[in-house]
């Protein structure tokens, strides 16, 4: 109820704001360098909520949905272009397990950006360990965008495809919902829209495989490496929102990855820190690399400052049971 009310009000204001935005856009259009510099500070403010509060010169506070201020440049991408990808790029992600403390900001930001429900997570944080003796560690798991993607191989209609820039996407207007890709993905990266949801009817944003919005009933979806942001020269939502700088992202051709704060050579990072790919022996050739969880910056318990039902997810991990016994969690 509450939400409905605010939404209505927001739409009225939105209309008013749109006019204002249009006029200011023309002025801003010329520069992007400054806003790039700024984005570091700005993101802090807009990180969690879907709404942005603003003060007008008339002394009024208005609330607008952040998305409404977006200009959706991805809508300008033709469907054909969205299947080819960004030219001469080869995207790669590096996840530094030593820095992850299950802050879940990546999950939350991704959910907001992709309009996902509470339990729908394109990036999942799992708690796994390498062996029985080893302490488990937090393991953020997006789609690995494999170079030999089994999901793409088995798709009977070409609804899921691999682009020249290495990104594996789903065209949900082509997907017939056979779920074969889900069973063939060894990393459980894919999700299915089991029932109808109201958000699927929101056609205000034109559908593009690059955003996956709006999702559609009876089709598959997954992490997409946010190509809409990449086209604007921005990091994917998860990398941008991580407070620990766990997620590095970049172009393998340039051999440079960044987590928003520091920029490093990809090859150097992998070589110096012993980077590896999860389940390498399966031969899927993922484009997500992990830096091992050595010299961890946070004790595992720090990751349990989360909602109760998310905490429950890890109850079967033996180490967690031990921690519970000791009363540490």
């Amino acid at each position: 109820m509450k939400i409905n009310n605010t939404e209505k009000k927001a739409t009225n204001r939105r209309k008013f704001l749109k006019l204002g935005l249009m006029s200011s856009v023309t002025v801003v259009a010329g520069t992007s360098i400054f806003s790039n510099l700024r984005s570091e500070e700005e993101k802090e403010k807009t990180i969690t909520g879907e709404k942005v509060r603003l003060l007008t010169p008339e002394g009024k506070i208005v609330e607008v949905y952040e998305e409404n201020i977006n200009k959706y440049p991805e809508a300008l991408i033709t469907p054909i272009e969205s299947k080819i990808g960004i030219p001469n790029r080869k995207f790669v992600m590096v996840i530094d397990l030593a820095k992850c403390k299950n802050a879940r900001k990546c999950v939350e930001r991704c959910q907001v950006a992709h309009k996902l429900d509470k339990h729908q997570e394109f990036i999942k944080i799992q708690l796994i360990s390498n062996n029985e003796e080893g302490q488990p560690y937090w393991f953020p798991k997006p789609c690995f965008h494999c170079d030999e993607p089994p999901c793409v191989t088995v798709c009977p209609t070409g609804a899921t495809f691999k682009r020249d820039d290495g990104i594996v996407l789903i065209d949900n207007t082509r997907c017939i919902g056979c779920k074969f890709c889900i069973t063939s993905c060894p990393y459980s990266a894919r999700q299915f829209n089991w029932g109808h949801e109201d958000k699927f009817d929101d056609k205000s944003q034109p559908y593009s495989p690059e955003t996956g919005i709006p999702a559609a009933e009876g089709t598959v979806m997954k992490c997409d490496f946010c190509p809409d942001l990449l086209r604007q020269g921005e990091l994917p939502h998860c990398a941008k929102s991580c407070p620990m700088g766990v997620i590095y992202f970049g172009d393998k051709n340039e051999d440079i990855v960044t987590n928003g704060e520091e920029t490093v050579r990809f090859s150097q990072l992998i070589n110096d820190r012993g980077g590896y790919r999860h389940l390498e022996h399966l031969g899927t050739k993922p484009n997500v690399y992990y830096l091992p969880a050595v010299n961890r910056q946070f004790p595992l318990e720090r990751g349990f400052d989360i909602e109760e039902d998310i905490k429950e997810r890890y109850k079967d991990v033996p180490y967690v049971q031990e921690l519970k016994k000791q009363g540490k969690i």
């Binding site: 609804a159 889900i182 060894p186």
Partner: protein, 447 residues
């Protein structure tokens, strides 16, 4: 002249099956239709609400729909295989069981694919499979294989129907509605049983039977590949294709024995379906049970012995959550039929049928254990709090549709028996003449 009178007596013998509609029969049809209607209602609900009302979720994305699909398609392929073998090698006792086998084949290949359709999220986009096909996908292979197989089976079934349709067309005494007579005439395509026609028909039936054996093997192999070409621990196995073929044959022979038993009982066909048929089928079932047991053992033994982590996890799931199912599917479902069929004294019609029932049920469960526990044990542990995302349980929608599928199988079977005699009349005549000729020849030789 002799042949014509024999035809008449045969038509007379089978005419009660074709003409009469007893009240029990009506009740039977009514019950089947009712079950199908419930299934249709469930289907409508599923279309309206989406797959949310099934028990399938992100980890176990395939449930009993897929299991029914491979089960039915397996029966069909094994039927085709057996029919092909019987025809191709001109087995002497084939006649009495041949039509049962053929009808089982064609009906299960019709019912089976319906289940795969139920599993598809966007039925409205089904035609995309043909507009945007990807040759690399095993699903595409499967669709091509199934479609080709359905058409082949239809042609084959029709070929074997032609002589009987001609006999029925020519029997003026048969009390059936006018439209059925017209249909007989149309479908008999002017077959007059002349030597050239007969020779021609025999020739094409023989080539088609060979074709159908090959296709059954290819098609069921492709179906097995849907599982074994993935990277999933429980599926990625090189023996899956032959394993599936043996398993399909095992369940198919089981279903045929059950059908033989029921038809023999209901239509009192003791004269045609004899104990020797049951024993023949029973021994075949015994061989298949041994083979199936051997494959099952090889499959699980290798997993257990080499104990890769993922295989171990799968076996853990199997023995922790599916203990009794595993025991029934892979021990009881194999050993009981072997015991019954191994000892000569136990080979009675009833016990053979019982063994077949055990085999069929065990095999369905075996399919369940191939599909569900594997999906419940992915490489990365399922860390979720929603029980329906961790474990799969079929909802009433899925059960209703499963039973509707079985009911549809029975309904079509019953209607087909109403349309054409379940024992091929032309075959009986042929057999009699063949044996008479043999006798004559022997007599001649003796003289």
């Amino acid at each position: 002249m002799d042949v014509i009178t024999r035809k008449k007596t045969l038509v007379k013998e089978f005419s009660p099956m074709l003409e009469k509609n007893s009240s029990l029969f009506r009740l039977w049809i009514g019950a089947l239709v009712a079950i199908i209607l419930v299934g249709l209602y469930a289907f409508v609900l599923q279309v309206i609400n989406g797959h949310e009302i099934t028990g399938m979720r992100d980890n176990v994305v395939w449930g009993i729909y897929i299991i029914n699909f491979i089960f039915f398609v397996g029966i069909s392929y094994s039927g085709a295989f057996i029919a092909g073998i019987l025809h191709f090698f001109e087995t002497p006792w084939k006649n009495s069981v041949l039509r049962i086998v053929e009808i089982t084949t064609i009906l299960s290949i019709i019912v089976g694919p319906i289940f795969i359709l139920l599993c598809i999220g966007r039925l409205d986009r089904l035609h995309y499979l043909f507009i945007y096909p990807r040759i690399q996908s095993p699903i595409t292979w499967d669709i091509i294989a199934i479609l080709t197989d359905i058409i082949g089976c239809f042609i084959y079934l029709y070929l074997t129907f032609i002589p009987d349709l001609a006999i029925l067309r020519d029997s003026k005494e048969l009390k059936v509605p006018e439209w059925r007579k017209k249909l007989y005439t149309f479908l008999a395509i002017g077959y007059q049983d002349t030597p050239t026609q007969r020779k021609r028909l025999h020739k094409i039936i023989k080539t088609m039977s060979a074709m159908i054996i090959a296709m059954a093997i290819v098609a069921y192999t492709v179906l097995a590949w849907i599982f074994s070409l993935t990277l999933q621990p429980g599926w990625n196995s090189s023996i899956f294709a032959p394993y599936f073929i043996i398993a399909g044959l095992y369940s198919g022979v089981g279903v045929i024995i059950i059908a033989m038993y029921l038809i023999r009982k209901i239509f009192k066909l003791e004269k045609h379906i004899k104990k020797s048929h049951f024993i023949g089928a029973g021994i075949f079932l015994l061989v298949l049970a041994l083979l199936f047991g051997y494959f099952t053992f090889s499959e699980y033994f290798a997993r257990w012995f080499s104990h890769k982590t993922t295989d171990n996890q799968l076996l853990d799931t199997m023995f922790n959550n599916y203990f009794w199912e595993f025991i029934f599917a892979n021990y009881i479902g194999v050993i009981i039929p072997i015991i019954i069929l191994f000892f000569k004294k136990l080979r009675t019609i009833k016990l053979i049928t019982f063994a077949a029932v055990i085999a069929v049920l065990g095999l369905w469960l075996n399919r369940y254990l191939i599909v569900v526990p594997t999906l419940e044990t992915p490489y990365l542990p399922i860390q979720d709090t929603r029980p329906e995302f961790i474990y799969y349980t079929a909802t009433w929608i899925e059960w209703a549709l499963s039973f509707a599928g079985i009911a549809a199988f029975f309904l079509f079977f019953t209607l087909l028996i109403k349309f054409i005699p379940i024992i091929p009349m032309s075959g009986i005549i042929e057999q009699e003449f063949a044996s008479r000729n043999k006798k004559d020849k022997i007599a001649e030789n003796q003289e």
